[in-house]
Symmetry: C2
Subunit: 304 residues, 2 copies
């Protein structure tokens, strides 16, 4: 609390008077931006007329049209102007990028390392938005802009665990893979996470090792968002923001599976979801197998 507090007599004037004479000073300030992680579920290939299409997790990226990282892909985002709140900036960005409004939005994390933007000091507040794919269909591919949806995958490459007397170190390397619709672009990054437990002190770090085609530190931000999504899907109802109004329980289960990276048993899954959904009475027009009930989210569900 020092900058700018240089009014003549800081105490013996009224607050009103103080504010009138307050001078913010002209020391160097960082730029502040918002970065948007817009996720959706898109349906992938259908191998065979009977098999269900496997859903995929999609992320919206923008191709950079200028330096730095010219031609690479970045999270949509922009500067926060002086008279709008962070969330307003995030919603504005979302609106201009996807045309969508009234969407699930959650602040993720604020990235403030010094060298993260080679141009100047930029502090970036990241927001995660979850979009129902059916609404996006209406939107029709962002008129010729350089925005594109990428399929997101994470693969565990290596896991080392070293246990010593006072604690342990777990080191993981995973590959983040982003590929666009027609497979013309394949972006990737190796993310190395270290988790040290030493006595009571637990510390973690995340490093990017080999980044291909992803601008700035955005691969790290994407990794962070995936972690958040993965953990929140377990104890909240955010998944439903990714689902259309009506859905089958199998579709819901598959979304859980691609996000959590684990296979689930249908019986247990249905039991767990029973209180969260209501039957609509309608059925999904099916192909080659028993038709499935369509459910919708129970508006009166309990919070956990």
């Amino acid at each position: 609390m020092s900058h700018g507090d240089k009014a003549l007599d800081p105490v013996n004037i009224s607050e009103e008077e103080f504010l009138k004479t307050y001078d913010a000073g002209d020391y160097e300030r960082p730029s502040v931006t918002v970065d948007m992680l817009v996720f959706t579920i898109r349906s992938g290939e259908q191998e065979n007329y009977r098999k269900l299409a496997e859903p995929e997790l999609g992320l919206l990226l923008i191709r950079r049209g200028g330096h730095p990282y010219l031609g690479q892909w970045a999270l949509p985002g922009g500067f926060v102007s002086i008279d709008e709140s962070l969330e307003d900036a995030a919603r504005r960005e979302l609106q201009t990028e996807t045309g969508l409004d009234d969407i699930y939005l959650e602040q993720l994390y604020t990235w403030g390392d010094v060298g993260r933007d080679p141009r100047t000091r930029v502090i970036s507040c990241s927001y995660m938005a979850l979009v129902d794919s059916s609404e996006l269909e209406l939107q029709a591919g962002d008129d010729a802009s350089d925005a594109s949806w990428f399929r997101v995958e994470q693969k565990l490459i290596e896991e080392k665990r070293h246990i010593h007397e006072r604690g342990r170190v777990t080191e993981r390397r995973l590959q983040l893979i982003l590929s666009n619709e027609d497979e013309t672009e394949q972006l990737s990054a190796i993310v190395e996470t270290k988790e040290k437990v030493e006595g009571r002190v637990r510390s973690g770090s995340v490093e990017l090792l080999d980044v291909q085609g992803i601008a700035f530190d955005h691969a790290k931000i994407i990794h962070y968002a995936l972690e958040r999504l993965r953990s929140k899907i377990e104890y909240t109802d955010i998944v439903f923001n990714l689902m259309p109004e009506k859905f089958t329980l199998t579709a819901l289960q598959k979304v859980y599976e691609i996000i959590s990276g684990k296979k689930l048993l249908a019986a247990a899954f249905r039991r767990k979801m029973a209180d969260w959904v209501i039957e609509t009475g309608e059925y999904a027009s099916s192909a080659g197998h028993r038709p499935s009930r369509l459910y919708r989210l129970n508006p009166d569900r309990e919070t956990l």
Copy 2:
């Protein structure tokens, strides 16, 4: 992505060249600060030689020595300088305020509403630090500065729940009470939370209604931190950052209880903690009752 990208020919020069000629521009930027929520556990009154002292949750606040909010209490914090990362700024602040280093630190949330600081536009990144009280004893009350520990309590005042056809609204009012050691200062705020569920859209808001003696929007930040602490205590091992090296299971349980606000059954609690702690072989010197084993954190515990 517009500010500052006004190099003459943004594409047909090399990235290196671009960066050399890059001009960050002089549009108005917000100030960026970090706000620290330093929590610790302190032991309260001991009613009777036999009874155990009830632990309390303590929060470090600083009395404002200038306008605005002169004389009120605020979270310790300060401006992020242009050449330090957010976390560096947070650690620096922690060091100067408590003299402590190597402490659990977690980024909480970034507050960016337009009017939250009457002086100028300030975006504030909040960090939560958890400190073991035994280490603080050494530190001896911040030499005559205006820092002080406050006991934190939250009381639910009112809960309204309105269920309609497409969803429901839950409205809660709770009182946040902060009181310092000798009870000379009693700060408080009424926090009103609204949670709307309408179809699939879930939205929430938090408002401050009646703030007594707490500067800026800091009561809201404190409320947010308490929520985070309460939820994280359930599925992580952060509690141990609040405990001394050696502790009794009853002490640990009491810390769980004041943070979660719920009474726990000793038998179940001990079963749950069994994998997380190890016996030290030592016993707590006790008074008027059976002595209790001292445990320490199991460095080889599982992550959940």
